[in-house]
């Protein structure tokens, strides 16, 4: 059986939040590697803080983090704690989640759903 992975995506509306340190909402999904294990849940964060978000990620045993811009200190901390990070990703979080499940997401990607009239937060 595939190992269970927990994915955290920093979100703003239907999109990936552009800044890790200003995030007020995250989406958490569990996957067995290919399929979602349960319905993803969103969690509101009371006070945007990159340090607190890092602690939260560690506490929740997150294995994959998808976010926008992230500072070096936090990026290295998450790498140090062996999280897989996809940073500087732009676009709808649902599309990013799908790409993670398909093992096709790359840091710095602008997703197709990021362009066009619908693509405003």
């Amino acid at each position: 059986m595939e190992k269970l992975s927990k994915i955290l995506i920093t979100i703003q509306g239907n999109f990936i939040a552009p800044r890790f340190d200003m995030v007020s909402e995250v989406l958490i999904a569990s996957t067995d590697g290919q399929n979602l294990f349960e319905k993803p849940r969103t969690i509101l964060i009371s006070r945007p803080s990159a340090d607190e978000l890092c602690s939260f990620i560690t506490k929740e045993d997150i294995t994959i983090v998808v976010c926008g811009g992230i500072e070096e200190r936090h990026y290295k901390y998450l790498s140090w704690t062996k999280k897989k990070i996809f940073d500087s990703v732009i676009g709808p979080y649902a599309e990013a989640l799908q790409l993670v499940l398909e093992n096709r997401l790359v840091s710095g990607t602008i997703l197709t759903g990021a362009v066009g009239d619908e693509a405003c937060p």
């Binding site: 703003q12 999109f15 939040a17 552009p18 070096e72 710095g108 990021a114 009239d117 693509a119 405003c120």
Partner: protein
């Protein structure tokens, strides 16, 4: 140029002419165009970013609802505001945002022009006590000669070659020349020619085009392009590989070059300042440096004297750095005891001002009293064989001399607290064969503390 041909200039070309990062947004706040400086900052090309919501690309902190952009659109008035962005290298950069509404010929608002001015230099200036970038101290006749030359060097546009031993302040002088020149408002880009292998250095200096090599998925402007209208500072030019010396020579002559894999020449207007601690004439004799490039760079030459030749400056610098570290460390050390002072005045300082600064930093950390005593100074300065009364190393080839001091006399190798801590970490990691948890245990630190220290010392 005729007025009609002005209208035909591509917007991107026009934006690239400005020395700051710029983006044009439409009324829906989506990217219409951005210049090469913003491409370098964000890591996205203009083509990729077109149509994407601006704040996603900028990663700025101007609020999740971009109220400032909306306000500029609603009022039609320009707004200037301080904020920051996170660049592609995960660095938070303080930015002065200037948001100006754009109108069509009929007067309708059609979008916004956002100029992002990097103000990290200004902010650091007000925060720092001294970081060595804009303070040059010296009363000695040799330094007075240097100060006398500086305005002359700043007022011309010719290439400058700065020579001097390691730690004499070549970087500071180069930046000072740039800041005093007419190019001061434009970028000052520093490239260490000895830090990268040849192939990487070429793409770093001249940029590359998409498809030039595996992994070159998009165009990248090189340092010469980013320094357009400003100054490029090529430090350790003596370590520049021969093939690149030819390319640099051609840029100096023609002011244009081909990016790696490119078929179109890129024109640049860049002033070149080069520096080296090596004796370039000797390098030429050994076939390691091109004579023609030497003469091309050696239009204006400035030689920075080693500290041992700067009579009276050691005393001045000792007081200056002690004041600096008193402030930084919140201490109130009044001065040095006679013994310590004499030792510091008679020491040869093969590492020049940098070494002197490190010694004072060490002493200020160790000293718990009102005066720095001999036992507060690093031990190696008492065992070091080279003193000011002994024969001195050659004018500015310090490579061999440096080697001696590291292998024979430096115990501990580092001259300041940071170096000692670094060495402790390295020893612990070597002992545990790289196992960080065990290394942290040996050092008596938590894993997170070790992680923080590793980061602080640049090991990660």
């Amino acid at each position: 140029m005729k007025l009609s041909s002005l209208h035909e200039i591509a917007v991107s070309e026009l934006l690239n002419g400005f020395p700051h990062a710029i983006v044009i947004l439409d009324t829906g706040l989506r990217v219409v165009e951005m210049n090469c400086y913003l491409e370098a900052l964000t890591g996205y090309t203009s083509a990729q970013a077109r149509g994407v919501y601006g704040s996603f690309i900028l990663r700025c902190n101007l609020g999740p609802k971009n109220q400032h952009f909306h306000k500029a659109l609603e009022t039609g008035q320009p707004i200037s505001i301080e904020g920051n962005i996170i660049n592609r290298n995960h660095r938070k950069i303080p930015i002065q945002f200037t948001i100006s509404p754009l109108r069509s010929e009929s007067g309708n608002l059609v979008g916004l022009l956002v100029v992002l001015e990097d103000i990290s230099v200004l902010q650091n200036k007000s925060q720092r006590i001294y970081d060595g970038t804009d303070v040059i101290l010296g009363h000695s006749p040799k330094m007075q000669e240097v100060f006398g030359l500086m305005p002359v060097l700043a007022h011309t546009d010719a290439s400058v070659l700065i020579t001097g031993e390691t730690g004499t302040g070549k970087d500071i002088i180069a930046e000072a020349i740039h800041k005093a020149s007419k190019r001061a408002r434009h970028p000052f880009i520093k490239v260490n020619c000895g830090a990268l292998p040849e192939s990487l250095l070429e793409s770093e200096l001249f940029g590359y085009v998409r498809g030039a090599f595996t992994g070159a998925v998009k165009d990248k402007p090189g340092m010469f392009r980013l320094a357009h209208d400003g100054t490029i500072f090529l430090t350790e030019i003596g370590d520049l590989p021969m093939p690149l010396q030819v390319k640099i020579l051609s840029v100096l002559d023609d002011k244009e070059f081909y990016p790696v894999g490119g078929t179109q020449k890129t024109k640049v207007d860049v002033r070149v300042i080069a520096a080296t601690h090596r004796d370039l004439r000797e390098q030429i004799q050994n076939g390691k440096f091109r004579e023609d490039l030497f003469y091309r760079l050696n239009v204006l030459r400035i030689h920075l004297p080693p500290l041992r030749e700067r009579e009276g400056d050691i005393r001045l610098l000792l007081d200056h750095f002690l004041r600096e570290f008193n402030s930084k460390l919140n201490k109130s050390i009044k001065g040095f005891t006679t013994n310590a002072h004499n030792k510091l005045l008679s020491y040869a300082y093969p590492g020049n001002v940098r070494e002197l600064r490190n010694i004072i930093e060490y002493a200020a950390n160790i000293c718990q009293g009102k005066r720095v005593r001999s036992e507060h100074l690093p031990q190696y300065i008492f065992t070091h064989q080279v003193t000011s009364s002994m024969p001195q190393p050659k004018a500015y080839d310090n490579g061999h001399q440096e080697e001696i001091s590291h292998t024979e006399s430096f115990k501990p190798r580092g001259g300041n607290w940071n170096d000692i801590e670094k060495e402790m970490i390295l020893q612990a990691l070597t002992k545990t064969r790289g196992n960080r948890s065990q290394a942290a245990e040996i050092l008596g630190w938590g894993r997170t503390t070790l992680w923080r220290k590793l980061k602080m010392h640049g090991f990660t």
